[in-house]
Amino acid sequence: MNISDQLLGALSQYGLPVLFGVIAIAAAGVPLPISMMLVAAGSFVELGEMKLWQVILVASAGAVLGDQIGYALGRWGGHRVVERFTRRRDGAARIAQASAFAKRWGAAGIFFTRWLITPLGPWLNLTSGMAGYPWMRFFIWDVLGEVLWVVLYVLLGKFFSDRVQALVEILGNLAWVIVGLIAAVILGWKLLRYLHPADILNERKVTTGN
């Protein structure tokens, strides 16, 4: 029995409380196979063992709660540690930079890491908190993204209710393909800059008018 088997067994037996607890813990940063739980919950809805609206409500609430824990850790736990750590290394400027980045890309970052690039979700909770991203805005984008994620996966599980195991394996691999593609694009861009620094410099001169 691996961890997925244990969690799905507990979900089958105890239902919603397990769904809520496991999703909250995972959203706070503990790596657990929760996409699988959502798909299985969708299948149990189809089998008449659970109610659709209850599953969506409970799973979304669990995910949002876990995300708030991650955000709070970053904001009130992590910030102090980072400040102490970086005091002698231009820390204030770094934090200001991260904060500016989070404020600029925060909304899209929060929204897409809830349902599309899910493996990065817990990291973004921490960094949003650390960068002091406004909590209300974090909360709103978080709720929107999490509800979309829950509805998507539960409905997938409901429609492919007879093939939970197979579907979950495909989705698990697909999530990493998406993360890999994004990382490849970012690294590819950096690589181009290293390989052709002269072109980039010229471009800068043109754009800045020097």
């Binding site: 029995m1 067994g9 063992e49 093939r163 691999n173 290293y194």
Partner: protein
């Protein structure tokens, strides 16, 4: 100069690793999807309940209950692992008994024939 060289190599290696890992996951995804298309059946796992196995394999639940010699239950949430534990046998044994029963049921009532009666409580 040396510093830039280092950075360049790190970026090249990181890029190659990411592309390699993405490729591996992409191949795995496609292989799983193809396997899914070709094999309609799920692997029976210890987390599954009897209603789920019956639903997944499209056999009437009473057939599976009968083969395990347990009375049918409505809203049965027990997992195969629990059933195996209650019957003092391994979950692998329970899974193999279920697979045999599914095989027999399918041989008796091939898919497509309207023979699988709806579940009725006695």
């Amino acid at each position: 100069m040396n510093h830039t060289g280092w950075k360049k190599w790190i970026a090249v290696v990181a890029f190659a690793l990411v592309v390699l890992a993405t490729g591996v996951f992409a191949v795995r995804t496609v292989r799983r999807a193809m396997y899914w298309r070709m094999h309609r059946d799920e692997t029976i796992r210890p987390w599954m309940s009897i209603p789920y196995v019956a639903h997944s394999y499209r056999v009437p639940p009473p057939v599976l209950y009968q083969t395990l010699k347990i009375p049918p239950q409505l809203h049965d949430r027990r997992t195969l692992k629990q059933i195996a534990h209650a019957q003092n046998r391994s979950v692998e044994e329970v899974i193999s008994v279920l697979q045999d029963a599914i095989g027999r049921e399918r041989a008796d009532h091939p898919p497509g024939a309207p023979t699988t009666a709806p579940v009725r409580s006695p």
